[in-house]
């Protein structure tokens, strides 16, 4: 079987080895997410945030008051670009090949992430749906809570191997397994 270059994920080589089935604590690498960087022009921050919240099939990860990462796991880049282009006061650029999206889930997710980030992730202050830019394993990335026990991590592609290894190491005592997901 041949695999075309464009579909070869940066973490492909780290997925070999024997792991029969996912454990309760599991690290999923999303194979082909669509990720855009979006920045509101000065004075358009509030209207752009509002408009982004209305675009279907995307989530807008918070980076700064005028800056988001637009993520989709269900729609193609062209459709999203068309939606973003219709928002006044917004500049955007596709980052799908420049960023890596991972999801860490399981009952011990908070204990594992406590070794990786210096931000309080208690549900009272970092609730479901919340996202923020932060240092993750000493790499500047974006962390989002997508469920009670599920977090999504976005890091630049060139650091993804290192962050992946660190997450695996942090999760070793909780038997974290890993694999690709769609």
């Amino acid at each position: 079987m041949s695999i075309s270059f464009i579909h070869r994920h940066i973490l492909e080589d780290r997925m070999s080895g024997y792991e029969p089935s996912p454990n309760v604590n599991h690290l999923t690498v999303i194979r082909r997410p669509v990720i855009f960087s979006a920045i509101a022009h000065a004075g358009h921050e509030v209207s752009v945030a509002e408009a982004l919240s209305l675009v279907e099939n995307i989530v807008a990860r918070s980076v700064s008051p005028s800056d988001w990462l637009v993520v989709s796991q269900s729609t193609d880049a062209g459709t999203i670009a068309t939606s973003l282009a219709a928002i006044p006061g917004l500049s955007f650029a596709e980052q799908s090949d420049g960023q890596v999206l991972m999801a860490l889930s399981g009952p011990d997710v908070r204990t594992i992430l406590a070794k990786c980030v210096a931000v309080d992730l208690h549900a009272d202050v970092f609730a479901e749906g919340f996202s923020a830019p932060m240092m993750i394993c000493r790499v500047a990335g974006n962390l989002a809570r997508t469920g009670a026990d599920t977090f999504e991590i976005i890091v630049p592609r060139s650091y993804a191997g290192y962050v992946f290894d660190e997450l695996r190491e942090a999760g070793r005592e909780h038997a974290v397994t890993r694999g690709f997901g769609e």
């Binding site: 980076v63 700064s64 008051p65 800056d67 210096a118 931000v119 309080d120 202050v125 923020a132 830019p133 932060m134 240092m135 000493r138 500047a140």
Partner: protein
């Protein structure tokens, strides 16, 4: 964490997420100001002990420039303001 800074956008964050970009006290002279004024702005710095005002860049967070007022003797932080708000005559 040794040192925690409360970013107005990101909340309480470790010092490692920031890059300290220097004294925020000197004011940029007019383009046609004298050479002495420009020399002083570019090269001359006070080295006070106690309350200081610096530019901090939140590189691993919101990537905004902030003005941090703190005490370099006690490490007490008095205020953290977005540099744009500060330039527009905002708080602190």
């Amino acid at each position: 964490m040794a040192s925690l800074i409360t970013c107005p956008h990101c909340g309480r964050r470790p010092r490692e997420e920031f890059s300290i970009r220097g004294d925020a006290v000197p004011e940029r002279p007019a383009p046609a100001a004298s050479e002495e004024a420009w020399h002083a702005y570019v090269y001359l710095r006070e080295n006070p002990r106690g309350k200081i005002r610096e530019y901090w860049h939140h590189v691993a967070g919101c990537r905004r420039w902030l003005v941090v007022e703190r005490d370099n003797l006690t490490h007490e932080v008095f205020a953290v303001t977005d540099a744009r708000d500060m330039a527009n005559g905002g708080a602190a």
